[in-house]
């Protein structure tokens, strides 16, 4: 389908709707571009994208992986926005695996002119020309480095991009998703007596589904404690010249993070996911003391929505990403 046909179809849709007085109001305050890889959660992503489009009054451009038989299509969908019905236009464009950037020209022409564009890049390929092309059209971007291959390549690529474009408004879902873990790790050391033991931290161990999540948590711990990453090995260098190891254990099919363990000289501090709660414990001299805390996590849709439409810059993310990328890049 050519862009002209799509535009004509959009026009026809709008007329048909106003003839039938279907619409409460048509949303046209921004364009939300969502890269929806053919992942098992593609339907979930496109449904979440629709809800976000309704809530933020956006035209939705969905880029899906095409396998030859996927056609571009245009439709409108409506949803409740409080007491009002809001209708949004959705344009689905296939991305040709052989020539992914071919779709860029079409996207450019379908953006709502003069209004901001937002990009939720849900998939791999941060090094693809398609991603760099789309980046130029978007005011804010959310990616997810945890969907990259297990070697943390996404983190490294993201760090490279941010070094080149330090002003890019770019967020990583792997970072956003793990906010409750940062809180839990901090809670382990709220007791001033325990906080002191962080000076003798020897190892950071994270278990979970993806290396990216684990490395970002470790990167954040390193940032908070003023660490650098040593050039030769995946280790932190402390400000006093000490070494702190980082280990990631993969537990396939688990939550993004299952467990964080911090070993200090004479004790092990651990936060471990148990259903809707996290068990925080300290083991020292053969004795374990612990307590349960609620684990409160926002839905992905909410995190993406906040990042695209609301959050301010967070320097902790940039710092943590820098260390995380170094931890995984050797």
């Amino acid at each position: 389908m050519s862009v002209e046909t799509i535009v004509a179809e959009l026009h026809r849709l709008r007329e048909a709707q106003s003839d039938h007085e279907v619409m409460g109001s048509t949303a046209a305050t921004s364009t939300l571009i969502v890269r929806c890889a053919a992942a098992p959660n593609a339907t979930g992503v496109s449904e979440a994208a629709r809800r976000m489009a309704i809530a933020h009054g956006a035209r939705l451009i969905l880029l899906i992986s095409g396998k030859g038989n996927v056609q571009a299509n245009v439709c409108a969908f409506c949803g409740r926005e409080g007491t009002e019905t809001v209708c949004c236009e959705q344009i689905t464009l296939p991305v040709d695996a052989g020539d992914p950037s071919a779709v860029l020209g079409d996207v450019d022409q379908l953006l709502l002119q003069g209004l901001p564009g937002y990009l939720w890049w849900n998939g791999r390929g941060l090094d693809q020309p398609l991603f760099s092309g789309l980046r130029r059209t978007a005011k804010r971007i959310v990616v997810d480095t945890s969907v990259e291959d297990g070697d943390g390549a996404g983190l490294v690529e993201l760090q490279r991009i941010l070094e080149r474009e330090p002003h890019a408004r770019l967020w990583d879902l792997a970072w956003l998703r793990n906010a409750p873990w940062r809180e839990m790790a901090a809670r382990l050391f709220d007791d001033p007596a325990r906080a002191k033991t962080l000076a003798s931290l020897e190892a950071v161990e994270v278990e979970g589904e993806a290396l990216a999540d684990a490395a970002l948590i470790a990167g954040w711990i390193g940032t908070q404690l003023g660490y650098a990453v040593s050039k030769k090995s995946a280790q932190f260098k402390t400000p006093t010249g000490g070494r702190v190891s980082f280990t990631y254990a993969r537990s396939a099919g688990s939550e993004s993070v299952e467990r964080i363990r911090l070993r200090v000289r004479d004790a092990t501090f651990q936060a471990e996911r148990q259903g809707n709660s996290v068990f925080l414990s300290v083991r020292s001299g053969g004795e374990q003391r612990g307590r349960c805390e609620p684990f409160v996590q926002c839905a992905t849709e909410q995190l993406v929505s906040d990042a695209l439409f609301g959050l301010g810059a967070e320097s902790a993310f940039r710092q943590s990403l820098k260390l995380a990328a170094r931890l995984v890049s050797r």
């Binding site: 809800r51 976000m52 309704i54 809530a55 933020h56 409740r80 926005e81 409080g82 007491t83 009002e84 906010a179 940062r182 809180e183 790790a185 901090a186 809670r187 382990l188 050391f189 709220d190 007791d191 001033p192 007596a193 325990r194 906080a195 002191k196 962080l198 711990i221 908070q224 404690l225 148990q274 259903g275 809707n276 709660s277 068990f279 414990s281 300290v282 083991r283 053969g286 004795e287 374990q288 003391r289 612990g290 307590r291 349960c292 805390e293 609620p294 684990f295 409160v296 849709e301 909410q302 929505s305 902790a316």
Partner: protein, 523 residues
């Protein structure tokens, strides 16, 4: 082999924990025991316990807390825990089933005392509970007393807390008192209650609940007024013609006929919720967001509220009582046929008053119409600011639906804001139509605000009094409504019932506005 013991949460200390720096945390940090007087009652079951559990599930409660229930019903700790579990199952929203590790941890912190509120032995038992909580749950001796009982026993409870040396002078940590509405039944009784309470608690320790103030849109109203430049210049008698504040319900008195028949709509809703909303609309910008700065301004509005002239009550206040009718397609009985209501009851189930504010901003020229009623056509709480018309109709008579602008802050059921303005209808002719710009909080931000009781409980634990009513404002609000109450008590309403259940309210209410060439917004 290792042994696992449960430990108390350490003191949160952002300065010393390097991992905490920069983290957002909405958790309440002060540990405490919450003592619920009236623990078997409707409010505890429907609102307080679900709110407390929700705070826990959403990780907002302090890590160390305990809850003690106190009522006459003979229950053991386990029976109390069972009842609270059922209440959460039935009324808790967004918290999931009460089970699993978080529930287990929550429920073991609940305990119960049964007895009368004047039983000295029970207060001794309460002391033991507080001491046990201090050592077992590390509550640091902080106590939040919550009076969820019938108001007649408020004074009694406070007196006994003092006698038992459980008041603020004698507790190890902080000691706060949360009091449910109504605070008194008229000016005299409110003053009496205040004098009983202030003997033991200072104003800084008293949290008078008006749960309307905990609702999201009430704070949105402050944000709307004081974080936008476009409204404040118009917010005065020069541009605003009138203000309507409505709190309409479709429900009748339900199981609370006994209480309601002694209260009525003016006491139950207007004296507290609706007048509170009026003060937020009318007040001057506070110098800061600090609790007292805001409450100072609210109080000034009440001081400037013109007393209703004696002898002209009917020109300023209207009452109604519902007869039988139909609400949402279902037959509804007359008020006088409701359980625990007298067959000749003179109690109003609808009240409307017209007030004016004599200060620089309002100049006594802007009527504030307040109304509240039960069994009305639609559940609807809102504040409607009606602006004046343009000074000159440039487009002549053509704009037949050309209306003055209005700004409506919806409080329930749908929280949001709409602004109506006029625009040209497409076509060659110059037709003007009124259109509306609408903002719904839930979907606009993709997130919901905390329910009122959660917010208020959390604020009381944090020691934030912003959303609680200060004594001077309570007293001033009673001063505004007491003359009407007395007049209505002295003169029997001859036309009761004067509106059908499911209608817009009594005709006399329409006439109250019609005299000024105005009309209520339709429910």
């Amino acid at each position: 082999m290792t042994t696992t013991t449960t430990v108390a949460a350490p003191r949160v200390d952002g300065e010393q924990n390097p991992l905490r720096a920069g983290l957002p945390s909405s958790r309440i940090t002060d540990p405490c025991t919450i003592v619920l007087f009236g623990a078997t009652g409707d409010l505890t079951m429907r609102m307080l316990m679900p709110a407390l559990y929700s705070l826990r599930v959403h990780d907002m409660l302090p890590a160390d807390f305990a809850i003690v229930g106190y009522s006459r019903t003979q229950w053991s700790d386990d029976q109390f825990r069972e009842a609270m579990k059922r209440s959460i199952q039935q009324f808790g929203a967004d918290v999931g089933a009460p089970e699993g590790a978080i529930w287990d941890d929550f429920v073991r912190r609940l305990s119960y005392i049964s007895g009368d509120f004047d039983d000295v032995a029970c207060y001794e038992s309460l002391r033991k509970h507080l001491e046990e909580d201090l050592s077992e749950f590390q509550t640091r001796g902080n106590v939040l007393y919550y009076l969820a009982t019938p108001p007649v026993v408020f004074g009694e409870i406070v007196k006994h807390l003092d006698l038992a040396k459980l008041g603020p002078e004698d507790t190890k940590g902080w000691c706060r008192l949360v009091i449910e509405k109504p605070f008194g039944t008229d000016l005299v009784s409110a003053r009496k209650l205040q004098s009983q309470i202030e003997r033991v608690f200072s104003e800084k320790q008293i949290y008078r609940i008006d749960h309307y103030l905990g609702k999201e849109p009430v704070q949105d109203l402050l944000a709307l007024r004081f974080s936008n430049v476009i409204f404040e210049p118009l917010w005065n008698y020069r541009y605003i013609k009138s203000v309507q504040i409505t709190a309409a319900e479709t429900v009748g008195v339900e199981q609370r006929g006994g209480y309601y028949d002694r209260a009525g709509a003016l006491r139950d809703m207007i004296q507290n919720h609706v007048i509170n909303l009026m003060t937020l609309v009318a007040m001057e910008p506070p110098v800061s967001a600090d609790a007292d700065a805001l409450r100072d301004e609210k109080f000034k509005v009440l001081r400037a509220t013109r007393p209703i002239p004696a002898g002209r009550m009917d020109e300023f206040a209207v009452r109604g009582q519902y007869g039988e009718g139909e609400v949402a397609g279902k037959e509804a009985p007359a008020y006088r046929s409701e359980p625990d209501v007298g067959a000749k009851s003179n109690t109003e189930t609808f009240a409307a008053v017209k007030l004016s504010i004599d200060n620089w901003r309002w100049g006594g020229q802007v009527p504030f119409y307040l109304r509240s009623g039960k069994r009305l056509k639609r559940k609807n709480s809102e504040i409607a600011i009606e602006f004046r018309n343009v000074p000159h109709r440039l487009f002549g008579e053509m704009g037949d639906q050309f209306e003055a602008n209005s700004l409506v802050v919806r409080i329930q059921p749908e929280e949001g804001i709409s602004l109506s303005f006029n625009a040209k209808y497409p076509g060659q002719a110059m037709h003007i139509r009124t259109v509306s710009m609408d903002f719904a909080y839930g979907s606009g931000f993709g997130t919901k605000g905390a329910p009122a009781y959660e917010r208020l409980l959390a604020d009381a634990m944090r020691g934030n009094q912003t959303l609680f009513t200060r004594w001077d404002a309570v007293e001033a609000a009673w001063e505004v409504v007491t003359p009407v109450l007395e007049y209505w008590e002295d003169t029997r309403a001859k036309d009761f019932p004067n509106y059908a259940a499911g209608s817009q309210g009594p005709k006399a209410a329409d006439e109250l506005l019609a005299r000024e060439g105005e009309a209520w917004r339709q429910l």
